[in-house]
Symmetry: C2
Subunit: 449 residues, 2 copies
């Protein structure tokens, strides 16, 4: 049971009466009815890769952990309806592969895809690298099967693209982090498998031009733009150091943009389109230099520069993470102002800022300052500033009308924090809904609300 009682980042540990592994939605319902009758809390768990402690029980030892991992089949795939019915415990990668076997794309893609589950993706409304084109997990879902806190089963797995017969219960359960019931299966959208994909890395003089560059890309390529990721020189430096990669350009730049376009165009034309656009943006001075991936392996190398940032940063010791969003147009001003304010309260800290610019979502991380010898300040000294850093960054996010949790959710980590930033009216409605659907409060207590 031990691995189920600690979260992936090892920040939260808990106790449980049992780890329960039902094999069907009916068995989940039977377990929940028993827990409801006995007043036992239920903590649903998928791949246990969440970043906010949402799937870890508390220390009371009253709860059971209910794992969905045995309920993991791809039940059926309808090519003409472009849908797949899949059980909650199915690993995201298995679902991607099932779609690919039928010449379809399931576009959700994130670092933990080998072990995270589609049920967890739905319960946290996971984001990832293709949200710009295909939306968050919410937008990819047409229906769900749910076990309610009363142990009843409600299903909306019919694969309908239009159904205006009442309140949107589906979207209420999506992103509810298991606090309103347990998602046991879902009907997800599929897309045509892209015929061509072109990937390029660009060197940028600064962050200021990125919203304009995004505008140019969207106006030029429309729905072909599937990724638009930006990271700073500090991010690149960390990846080069810890992953032994080669610097992609002769000179260093302030920021880098990873752009991917993919869709119905053939491979050669997809590449030609991106090349032509890069030339035009270089002439306009928005792009300093660019490299177009020549092979699939080359594209993977460019992606690795982006995807290994978190791990490279972790290799240097603790850091202070923020998963935030602001309007895309506000990104440059937000970063400039907040960087400056942070130097005021934590002189010398290094900004490891990267993210999904196309969604207005930044992973705005802070690393310890370095001393004259190039060594980081002592961890205790750095972490003593953690709460002040959170406060400053999140207050700035609020000032720019942003969100303090763009894609990771609330869980245990930000449960108190949201009461500072979320409207009391919204919190009141959330509590009323929680009480209406789970009056006994047995579903994942101590999370989100």
């Amino acid at each position: 049971m031990a691995p189920a009682l600690i979260d992936w980042r090892k920040r939260f540990t808990g106790k449980a009466r049992a780890l329960v592994l039902p094999g069907s939605a009916e068995q989940v319902a039977a377990v929940v009815r028993l827990c409801a009758a006995e007043g036992v809390a239920v903590v649903p768990q998928g791949g246990n890769t969440g970043l906010v402690g949402g799937a870890t029980p508390d220390m009371s030892g009253n709860a059971i952990v209910l794992s969905l991992r045995r309920i993991n089949a791809v039940r059926s795939l309808d090519k003409l309806n472009n849908t797949v019915e899949v059980e909650a415990g199915c690993a995201l990668q298995n679902l991607q592969e099932a779609a690919a076997r039928h010449e379809r794309l399931f576009p959700l893609s994130l670092a933990s895809e080998g072990s995270c589950t589609i049920g967890g993706n739905l319960s946290t409304n996971a984001g990832g690298t293709q949200v710009l084109r295909y939306g968050n997990t919410r937008e990819l879902c047409l229906g769900i099967e749910v076990v309610t806190p009363q142990g009843e089963i409600w299903s909306s797995l019919n694969g309908l693209r239009k159904d205006n017969t009442g309140y949107d219960l589906r979207d209420l359960f999506i992103g509810a982090e298991g606090t309103l019931g347990i998602i046991t299966a879902a009907c997800m959208k599929l897309f045509p498998k892209p015929r061509g994909t072109a990937t390029a890395l660009c060197a940028l003089a600064d962050l200021d031009a990125t919203p304009v560059l995004l505008e140019h890309a969207l106006n030029h390529f429309g729905a072909l733009v599937t990724a638009f990721e930006v990271f700073s020189e500090e991010c690149l430096r960390l990846v080069l150091k810890h992953f032994g990669a080669r610097r992609p350009f002769a000179k260093s730049s302030a920021h880098y943009l990873l752009i991917e376009i993919s869709g119905h165009e053939e491979q050669a034309r997809t590449e030609a389109l991106l090349t032509e656009w890069l030339g035009r943006e270089a002439e306009a001075g928005l792009v300093l230099d660019a490299v177009l991936a020549q092979t699939l392996d080359h594209a993977r190398q460019l992606w690795n520069l982006r995807e290994n940032i978190s791990e490279a940063q972790a290799a240097e010791g603790k850091n202070i993470k923020h998963d935030i969003s602001v309007p895309i147009s506000a990104i440059p001003a937000f970063v400039t102002q907040t960087d400056a304010l942070l130097q005021g309260i934590a002189p010398g800290v290094r900004m490891v800022c990267f993210g999904h610019i196309g969604d207005g979502n930044l992973h705005y991380n802070v690393s310890p300052a370095l001393d004259a010898a190039g060594d980081p300040e002592p961890e205790a000294q750095f972490l003593a500033r953690q709460d002040a850093v959170y406060r400053l960054v999140h207050d700035q996010v609020a000032r720019f009308g942003g969100s303090i949790s763009a894609e990771h959710g609330i869980g245990q980590l930000k449960r108190t924090e949201i009461t500072r930033y979320k409207s009391p009216v919204a919190l009141g409605m959330m509590r009323a809904i929680k009480h209406a659907l789970d009056p006994a409060g047995i579903m994942n207590p101590g999370k989100l609300l």
Copy 2:
């Protein structure tokens, strides 16, 4: 006050204490607080173009009608964030035009766009002709401003594409038909203005091949497919008769497909792509004949053949309408079976079947039988079968896992009908949510639930 007391189809009339026309969200909130204190029901109304009586008060005369029509500004438009903040009473067409003035597309498009309002579109989660590419109104909305049944204001207008900080309240209000609160403003997504648009009408031998033809189109064009509408020869015959249009092909066919592709490709290439595809599908035998629009005006003429069906049918007298959806792959079997069953209970009735095949959404309408002289059966005789026809069609929809209201909502019209088809678990959750957010039941009583 009279026009506010009857619905657009003139099927529902009601009484009201007053028609109230507030000028701001704060005034809406003040009115609602007064109504809450006095136990007066509030019926929100936008353009009053709904098809299910959702904006018409009941006959008790207790309610006020609260019109949003004075709260109608386009507040601001952020080109770099691709968003527009708009008030609920803004007519859909005004919003489309505001977007166009800034070189952007607001893609929601439906027959009543000149008078329906964005608040009404949101409260009914309106569909229309471009759902296949851009989604329903729900998918076009990033945030809303709402007055709660307690007269408080909650706003989420920040234009964020990612925000995982709690329950999805936005989507709960969207499609709730004003029964949970009053939407006073919204932040809507914008898209690049398409550079090219190509429209074609195709003659089809039957309905059976349409899901495969849709598959071919999506695989070939990807996100360029913006409309995929099908209608039968009977629909065309009605439009030609009542609108004096010319038959588009020398020979008649069983069905017709209106396909539109649009997006980032230049006009000439967009047309070339569609022409090439049409040739290929004709060779494969899936398309019997096709005409590509040569001018904007020609495209408008082709669209009119599709868009004038409802009015042409209305010109012939009463008909029995169904707004249904099934999985796209099930459309041919659903229509074949249901057509045959209807002839069993209502011999000779004519099927006027058309709709958004790309969304699985059919307007499956039934016209009176004709006698030997070509005259329709007496209206009373025809309408005496209405309930039996509804029952048969909706039971068939349920058999195919479909929805009895794909895009029009429930309102008063289908309020009893959903209790037959919707899961008791779902209805129970809907009632619990309604009671949690509006315990006094003052928001649009007698609608939806």
